[in-house]
Symmetry: C2
Subunit: 390 residues, 2 copies
Amino acid sequence: MTASRPKRIFLDYASITPVDPNVLEKMNASLMESFANPSALYTEALTARETMNMARRDCARVLGSQDNEIVFTSGGTESNNLALLGVFEHAIQTGIKKPHIITTTIEHPAVLEVCKEIERRGGEVTYISVNEDGVVSPKDIQKAITDSTVLVSVMYANNEIGSIQPIKEIVKGIREWRQQHNTAFPYVHTDACQAILYEPIHVIKLGIDLLTLDGIKMYGPRGMGLLYVRTGVVLYPLIFGGGQQGGIRSGTEHVASMVGLAYALDIAESYREIESERLTKIRDYGINKILETFPQATINSSRENRLPNNINICFPGIDAEFVVISLDVVGISASYSSACRTLKEDSSSYVIEALGKKDCANSSLRFTLGRETVQGDIDTLVEALKEIII
Amino acid sequence: MTASRPKRIFLDYASITPVDPNVLEKMNASLMESFANPSALYTEALTARETMNMARRDCARVLGSQDNEIVFTSGGTESNNLALLGVFEHAIQTGIKKPHIITTTIEHPAVLEVCKEIERRGGEVTYISVNEDGVVSPKDIQKAITDSTVLVSVMYANNEIGSIQPIKEIVKGIREWRQQHNTAFPYVHTDACQAILYEPIHVIKLGIDLLTLDGIKMYGPRGMGLLYVRTGVVLYPLIFGGGQQGGIRSGTEHVASMVGLAYALDIAESYREIESERLTKIRDYGINKILETFPQATINSSRENRLPNNINICFPGIDAEFVVISLDVVGISASYSSACRTLKEDSSSYVIEALGKKDCANSSLRFTLGRETVQGDIDTLVEALKEIII
């Protein structure tokens, strides 16, 4: 007789979400029905084209955009690259000598590394600091705008600490500036990959010009993301070729994954309120229980203005990497910052450092909740932490 | 009682192949087992990482490369962009003022449009003509090399007319030049998307530096391609971010599709000889029968030096687009050039024009065969053509 292995507890939904089985089923069906190259001329291609158009329409409906404002990409990283480099390179084409971009110090590497590349290409980037709650001030952003500013890129919610940015107010300040200076610039881009499951994302209500989403963060397809591009915003392409998607993104379209992304977005919208409420309770239960159990522990970023699924706690003096590995041994999957950071073999978090908590940069743990998370998981987690952190 | 609809005949496998159901099954299993972000630290991530490494190893084994020479991309278009722009931008970084690239007049738009972009960025491109059989001369290429030439990009086999290029001889000429001039340049890139199912592709035996493959052309995953990058070849990245795949291609890896690509490649290798032989017979039967039936028709490119699955015939005076649509009505899917061309609403084929057959550019039809094709399909096709073309 073998002992049954206890179910593992996955608390790293911010790094990736499993694919919703219903989404997968729909993708598989579409892959068989609409397998053709949508650019061809015969019936199978027409089916693929119609399916693709329907997926685009479905995404547009949820986001409040026009169909032709949705560009499908290979994921959030490509969407961010296309948004930033696309605006920058187009600005260069139109004769702006040193295009200027404003962003924050706590963006994802898929924005920060693109900013570094833009600096290498002769652009200028201003990195705005955040306060101790991980929130950027719309006034600081407005003050940083110059005549050369072509883009402001601020993430909707942070992937490590879950802090939510005041996007609407940021947009308001920028629109004021545009109006006063009678210009279309700067555009505003937001990476909403982490926010889409919990925040109502409506591009018109937000007043945003560019918005990034990724299937892997919303129980959707891998290798499939989108970039919302407001009508009137001109992007220089990143990838050249057959001229698909209006020339903005060449390459044969992956119809089934577009269907999957649209369906995942639709499901996210239906679950948003109820799931946000459910996870907020578990999150708050978790934060309270951890802070009660470990009196020296402190929360990173504010208690309220954070994603419903994000718990990020500093345990002074611990080695976060050691704790993550120890938790894994007892069946709990967690993270000490973001998955991308581990790749750079840099266990220190620049996001937590940006909060003014340098000492916490190596000793914070991130637990991100998802559809399978129940309150009991938190109890198991706290018991495990008590064993590991003494 | 409803009449049963006759099965459609798909003769456009060069534009896309359906996914092999066994590949799909394997991808679905992997998606569930290895769903985690491979960059994380816990057991699920380790599983994903191991699965990814295994897929990479499997691809490398078939292609004869080292594991770390395989870069996964979102498809053939991105692979070609990464190869060409990657070499070009790196050359710019190293101080080469006007990097020079040599290619042919019959490349896919995913190479030609990148060449145009390179010209816009200040590079120089030489487009070598092909002979009446759609084949480039290795000597013409060697003669075009200058001290600034950083890359030669020649497709392994053409997507429209199926002509196969003498890649080995081209490489031989370039290696001679490199040796004589004591330089590492130019590198040689080949887009082998159309060839992989029928030609033995072994990177060492070919002596190639960069090689493009795409899942959609080999009964594999959509949104997944690869670029073989020989050790020593430095590419400037196209997409910036978390630093995945050694920094050459950032973005969370799509593990399940990597598994699918590796499996599709493995199946392609097992079927290659037998399927090439089978399709060559059907192809030749088709070419003979069409040319006998339509005495004015001529074959585009040579009879022998062409992919086993490619039939491309000029029917003087016909409107190719009209015939493709008419064939569709009777249940046959064909093409008048390539799917990408239809997108540009340009029904004229620059590839056929490059053969010196300007009159045929608007009146040629492409029929590309695949795993489901049987000889009877050709008989049905010829009967249908007889009704349409009089």
